[in-house]
Symmetry: C2
Subunit: 342 residues, 2 copies
C-alpha cells in the first residue's frame, strides 16, 4: 500500500521482523523500549539503540530531549534514519524526535503492537504529551516507510491484544459493516495464527489511509472522524494519569458513551449503542466508566480537547453502523446526561 502525503508518499508493507531489519538503511538508529528490547534482543544485537522506559510517561519533551542529545553525542547526522521499533508510544515519540533532529531526518516505523499496526504507525501524526493534555506537542511528519511485522503480535499478552482490537472494532463501526460481520463471526484473539489477522489489519490500514489522504492535516473533518470514542476516551486516560487503563480500553468505553450521546442527539440510529456495547463486550473490552472516575473531571478534561474549535464540544459520532460524521458545538449538558447514565 502507498500513502500519499504533501511531502511525497510512503509505503506500508507486511514484513516479518527479520525481513524488516534486513531491509533497513545502513545508517540508522533504533529507538525502542525495555519490553521490546528484551523480547527482540537478537534482532537488536549490534544496533545503535536508545532504550526507553515503557509506557505513556516516556511520551514527554524531556524524554525527547534525552533522545536528541543521545543522537547528537553518538554522531547521528542528517542522513541517519531513525527506526521507531515498538508500540504507539515509541512510534509517536521516535517520530517526533526524527521530526526535530537537525530539523528533520528520515524515520521508519516498525510497529510491534496491534494498536500501532492498525492505527498510530500510519498517517504521520507524531507527538508527546504535555501536563495540560495528551499529544499537545507534535507535528505532522510522515515516515519514509512503515513495515508491519505480524509475527511480533505473537508476543502480545491478551490484554494488549484486546487493546489493539478496540481500534479494529472502531474501524468497523465508523466505516465498514462487512468488517463488523467478520469480527463478530470470529472475534480474533491472540492465540489465532497471526497470519490470519492479515486481512483484518490490511482493511484497517486501508480505512486509515483513506482518511489520512483525504485530510492529512486534520482540517476538513475527514480525518477527525477517526476519533470516534476518543473525546471521552482521552478524558478517561487523562483522568487516570495514563496508567491503569489502556488506550483501547478507554476508547472502548468512549465508543459506547459517544454512541449513546449520538442517540441522545438524534444523530445515531436508535439501537446502535447497544450493538456497539455488545460487540466490545464480546471482545472482552470494558464498556462502563470506572466508578473511581468523576464525571465532572471528565467534563472539564473534555473541554480542553484540541479538536474543539468553537463553544461546545466536538465528537465523531456514528450515524449508523459503518458511517459517521463530525459534530461540533455539542452542549455540555447532553454529554453530562449520557455520562451520568453510564
Amino acid at each position: 500500500m502507498t500513502v500519499k502525503t504533501r511531502f511525497g508518499s510512503y509505503t506500508v508493507e507486511f514484513r516479518t521482523l527479520a525481513e524488516a531489519f534486513a531491509a533497513l538503511p545502513r545508517d540508522r538508529f533504533v529507538i525502542t523500549d525495555e519490553n521490546v528490547g528484551r523480547l527482540y534482543q537478537q534482532n537488536l544485537e549490534g544496533e545503535p539503540t536508545i532504550v526507553l522506559t515503557p509506557g505513556e510517561k516516556s511520551k514527554s519533551l524531556p524524554v525527547a530531549e534525552h533522545c536528541l542529545e543521545t543522537l547528537a553525542k553518538r554522531g547521528a547526522t542528517r542522513q541517519t534514519t531513525i527506526i521507531a521499533f515498538g508500540g504507539g508510544v515509541i512510534g509517536d515519540l521516535a517520530g517526533l524526535v526524527a521530526a526535530l533532529y537537525m530539523r528533520g531526518v528520515p524515520y521508519v516505523q516498525i510497529p510491534t503492537t496491534l494498536l500501532a499496526q492498525v492505527d498510530s504507525s500510519i498517517g504521520g501524526k507524531v507527538a508527546v504529551d504535555l501536563a495540560a493534555g495528551k499529544n499537545l506537542a507534535g507535528a505532522f511528519y510522515p515516515p519514509k516507510e512503515v513495515l508491519i511485522p505480524l509475527d511480533a503480535l505473537r508476543t502480545l499478552d491478551k490484554r494488549q491484544f484486546r487493546n489493539g482490537m478496540a481500534e479494529v472494532w472502531k474501524y468497523a463501526f465508523i466505516a465498514d459493516k462487512d468488517l463488523l460481520g467478520t469480527l463478530k463471526a470470529k472475534v480474533p484473539n491472540c492465540s489465532n495464527n497471526v497470519n490470519n489477522l492479515k486481512g483484518i489489519v490490511q482493511r484497517c490500514i486501508e480505512i486509515k489511509k483513506g482518511a489520512v489522504e483525504a485530510d492529512e492535516f486534520e482540517t476538513s473533518g475527514a480525518r477527525a472522524v477517526l476519533n470516534f470514542g476518543h473525546t471521552v476516551g482521552h478524558a478517561i486516560e487523562s483522568a487516570t494519569g495514563y496508567s491503569g487503563i489502556f488506550h483501547g480500553e478507554a476508547i472502548s468505553i468512549g465508543m459506547v458513551a459517544e454512541s449513546y450521546l449520538g442517540e441522545e442527539l438524534g444523530v445515531t440510529e436508535a439501537g446502535t449503542a447497544a450493538l456497539v456495547a455488545e460487540c466490545l463486550q464480546l471482545q472482552g473490552l470494558p464498556i462502563e466508566l470506572p466508578t473511581s472516575i468523576h464525571r465532572s473531571e471528565l467534563m472539564s478534561l473534555m473541554s480542553r480537547d484540541k479538536k474543539r474549535a468553537s463553544k461546545g464540544l466536538a465528537f465523531s459520532l456514528l450515524t449508523r453502523i459503518g458511517e459517521c460524521k463530525l459534530m461540533d458545538g455539542v452542549a455540555q449538558s447532553n454529554v453530562e446526561k449520557v455520562l451520568n447514565k453510564l
Copy 2:
C-alpha cells in the same frame, strides 16, 4: 515581497510597530522577552503575552515546553496565531512553539533587531539549542507573515546594531558586490535615520529569499551558502557558552577565518580575506579570535556541525567578492593551520 514555500507562500512587508500590531489576527498570543516587553509595554497592553528571559539560554526545549504548557493552560486553540515579537532567539523559539503546539498553529514574525530582520525571521527555520550544539532541535516551519518594523531599530544599542550589520556584510560578501560598495561608502550605524536602512534591509531579504526558495529544506547547497562564516562562528559561540560574544561578532571572526581558509585551499581569490577583514573592522566588528578560546576546542566543536555530511568539514567559501560555493570534505589540518594564524 512574497516568499514561496512548499506549504504555500507568505509575505514580508515593512510596517511600523503600531501598524504591525493593528494588522494582527484577533485570536493571538505574543511570545517576547523582558527587554522587548519593557521597551514596548504600550504596544503589549492587554495582549496575552509570554515574557521570557532574554538571551540564547531561552532557546531550549524546557523553555519551549513552558510556552506550550502556558498556551494550553490559557486556552490557545488550533486557530490561535503565535506572534514572535523580538530578536532571533524569540523568533526561533516562538516559531518552534508554533510548529509544535497542537501539531502546528500559525505564527507571525515581528523581528525587532536588525539581525532578525535581515536573516532569521525569513526562511522558516525554527529551532532550539541542545547541550550538544546550536539549533540541533527544530523544524522548517514557515510563518504566515513577516512584518518588519524598521522603527524598532531605534532602540538598538550600538553593539546590537553592529551585530546585525555582520549579517548585512555577509550578504554583500557572498552575493552582492554593489551592496558592498554601498556599505563601504556609508558604513551604516544606528544613529542613521532608520528609514535610510530600508533599501539595505530589503536587499538582504531579497538575497535570503532567493536562497530559501531555491533550497527550502537545505538539501541542495543553495541555502547552505548563507552559512558563510557560520561554521567557525557557531563553534566560537559554542565555545563561549553563547554568552560574552554576540552571533554577529562570532560570524565576523568566522568570515575572516573562512576567507583565509578559502585562500589556503585555493578556492578564494587572493586578497579577499584582507578586504573582508578591512570591511568588518570599518563596522567596528571583531576580526580576531579571542585568546581565551582554544583552537583545539573549536576544531572539536566544528566536527559536530550539522552541515557536515561526510568525512572532513563543510564550509561556505567565497570564490571572490559577491560569489560563494559550498565545500564539503575540508581537511581538519587546513582549518587548524588557518586558526593558528588568526
